[in-house]
Amino acid sequence: MRKLLIWLPLALFLAFIGLFTSGLFQPDDRIIHSRLVGQPLPAFTLPAAASDRPPLASSQLAAGQPRLLNIFASWCVPCIAEAPQLEALKAAGAQIDAIAIRDARPDVDAFLKRNGNPYARIGLDARSEVQIALGSSGVPETFVIDGKGRIAYQHIGEIRADDVPMILDRLRAAQ
């Protein structure tokens, strides 16, 4: 017994080394996914964020057809990179609504004038309240909402060109 105990510190040491090495080889995933995927969209009513688009309420996202809900902001740089992909999605038949986070109407207008406006409705979430209620942790993010107003999928970060077919598949699957 005593002889075996002598090896205990070494065994513990090796166990820790093993733990740390396995940690080194695990991918570092710091993305915080919303726990609301698969659940109904929280209820909200937002004022209009742009001069030429109507405001957005959660009830309008439960209108029978799946839609995309894009979370963006005029101050967000990756949102500029995402704009062409949103145009491509719209051209492929996707209905896109949006929520502008911590924004002001003149800034949103200028952003849309510069980068295009693929949105049907845009709600203004000036204090990130709806963003937090959605379990979203940044901009841009895109939710696929099925026809019944349930969150079917959450895409975190900007939509890249090779994500477009996948998003369209998710929309079709949410039918």
Binding site: R30, S34, L36, R102, R127, I132, A133, L134, S137, G138
Partner: protein, 135 residues
Amino acid sequence: MKLILLLFALIATPLAAQTALPPAPYADRQLADPALERKAKALMETIRCLTCQSQSIADSNASMAGDMRSQIRERIMAGEQPESIRAWLIARYGDWVSYEPTAAPILWPLWAAPLVLLGLGVLLLRGRIKRKARP
């Protein structure tokens, strides 16, 4: 001269602040009731900031952390209990958002550790006392 400089300072600040949205009303303002503010502060210190992941929202200057602080203060002011706000946030962001350990099975070793260490200590002590008693 000083007066002119002061005047410039007064004019310059609003111009510079024009593009940035002002923080939410209770992001950096305490609640009037000290007891409620204490409750809100205790909760904020255990909620993790989402954009700067190793800080609590009480310590973070991120705009989203400010919005969360304001929302927490307003909800506490409206009479909501801190633990129900924590549960609401966990339902959205997972256990990850809270610094307070829960009773989830994965954390059982963490809760058991003090008992195990105490047990080991008692065993060690018993061995030593026995040896001393038998010279």
